[in-house]
Amino acid sequence: MANLKDTEKKTKSQAMGMHTEVLTGRTQQKFFNPDEAENFYYFGTYDVDFNKRTDLDVINMTAADANKKIDSLMSEGYGTIVIKNPQGKHSLGVGILNKLNLIFEGSLGYFGMGSCDGPIVRINGRVGWSCAENLMAGKVVIEKNAGSCFGAAIRGGDLICKGSVGARTGIDMKGGTIIIGGDAGAFTGFMMQRGRIIILGDVGINLGDSMYDGTIFVGGEIGSYGSDAVDAELTSSDQDWLRRKLKVAEIGANFDVSKMKKVVAGKKLWNYDNLEPTEKKGAI
């Protein structure tokens, strides 16, 4: 555990009286000072050159070794990396926190591209469960299908699957956009808190179950609505946004967004009011 001590050198926030202590030891607080923005260092990131390109064949590598090699290549300034023969390996491409063009020539297993912040990724194959979990920023495009828990808990960025996805897509998502070219499984948008999900095809049962906030757009049939998921009016600004988003995502070029259904949270779950448990039963 880090030590706490007083310090004479004051940061801007300390000068403003927000706090008086700093952490020392192995874990240290980092304070962002706008005056020193150019010196601000985001641990584990690299300045890369997109024009500096290389291939990496991971056929005989473990996922850990492959990820270390990607990190090493980024540290050498490579900004475009093509991964050959991923062959369904799990946890490839995780924890990339800077801009990067990353291309996978094949399919990934579970937890591919998890906890990333910034890379532009194209996967010319399929992805397994929990692809791009906790994505903060960037863009991940999957050319084929995806497994369940696609985009679980993402905070930002664009996550695009041109095929179909499994169950619980966008579970617990807190921002960003998920776009599905095909169909989506059960419990899509389960407990989502913010962000948008676009599904051009059909979606399974319990859509948007227990969603707190956010918006789901569906082009096809809905298996059933989950608890507290309700229809909302599709406005003209919604349609404009959908057209822009689909165009940027290079998906559904001729799709008629005016016929899409918009699903939002009814906000009648207990956490949206101060009703007692017995009262809220009557409210739902």
């Binding site: 297993g109 397994g128 299908n145 095929g163 499994g166 499984g185 049962i205």
Partner: protein, 314 residues
């Protein structure tokens, strides 16, 4: 967590023993307490193949009680005697391990219920499979260890299902290992990944109708449930569809018969399954790396949706 894998060649035979071993070994991180194979080999279809055990593997990690090996010989003698009494003739006998045997037998009657009940009334004896093509081989250890122990890598056939088990709800022993034979139906086997939450209710109901359970593994319920549905006149596919509501919990399971292979996924889609389908081959497993062990080239795969049932013929 357990791993399941299966494949079916359509219109041809292949080395399914070796292929399934590769698929299950790729899933060994999902559990290697025990591994089981249900292999549908090429046979002339005349004789029954009975795989049975007269004791448990009591090696390292086993939860079974150690027995004197001499009881295995005594049990085998009683099995041989009972087979004679039933009118069955042993034409080939293999004893791979002291507790594990494979018989090829001539038996004319179609109803295997009476046959199985009499054999299994011998204490310590369990029929692992009975069929004219099916052979269930299961034991403790990972896929390669079991494959090597039983020399399965050269078995040629049309289809197979298998299971890599992490024991959670019952012991580390052969009786709780998958696949389960669809007792008393010839050539029916089941593997399962998940948990069934209405196991005891269903078990009590099925036992009251005369169905037999050999273990306390919840997955065995699926085999017994489907067998009962077929006894009542349902087709296998109809039974599988009924299981989506009849079984409660989370599950993905495979079931195989002499000529077909099927999969079912619960309505919560809580257990994984990746599927590859082409004109001449269907391969599926809990993770894509299982399929990649036999198809390393880039292929199109997908996850079946919630509540989906599919059946393929050879």
């Amino acid at each position: 967590m357990c791993g399941i894998a299966g494949l079916i060649h359509r219109g041809k035979s292949s080395n399914v023993g070796s292929e399934l071993q590769g698929m299950l070994q790729a899933l060994k991180h999902r559990g290697e307490d025990s591994t089981g194979y249900a292999l549908y080999g090429d046979t002339d279809g005349k004789n029954f193949i009975m795989r049975f055990k007269v004791g448990e593997n009591v090696g390292e990690g086993s939860s079974s009680i150690v027995e004197d090996v001499s009881v295995y010989d005594e049990r085998k003698k009683i099995v041989d005697q009972t087979l004679t009494e039933l009118g069955a003739k042993i034409v080939k006998e293999e004893r791979t391990l002291p507790y594990s045997l494979r018989y090829e037998i001539v038996y004319d009657k179609k109803d295997l219920l009476d046959f199985s009940q009499k054999i299994e009334s011998i204490p310590g004896v369990e029929i692992l499979s009975m069929g004219k093509s099916l052979e269930v081989i299961k034991d403790l250890g990972n896929a390669k260890a079991v494959c090597d122990r039983y020399s399965l890598d050269k078995l040629v056939g049309t289809h197979a299902i298998g299971h890599a088990r992490m024991a959670t709800e019952s012991g580390v022993d052969i009786k709780s290992a998958h696949p389960f034979w669809g007792y008393p139906f010839s050539d029916v086997s089941v593997v399962h990944n998940g948990q069934l939450t209405n196991y005891w209710n269903n078990r009590r109901a099925l036992e009251s109708q005369g169905m037999r359970f050999m273990s306390e593994c919840d997955s065995e319920l699926i085999a017994v449930y489907l067998a009962q549905k077929m006894r009542e006149g349902s087709s296998l596919e109809e039974g599988m569809k009924e299981s989506l509501t009849g079984l409660d919990g989370v599950f993905t399971y495979f079931v195989a018969t002499k000529n077909s292979l099927g999969m079912a996924k619960d309505t919560m889609a809580a257990k994984p399954l990746v599927l590859y389908e082409s004109d001449d081959l269907v391969a599926m497993g809990s993770e894509e790396i299982a399929i990649r062990s036999i198809l390393p080239q880039e292929i199109d795969t997908y996850d079946p949706f919630d509540g989906e049932v599919k059946v393929w013929q050879i």
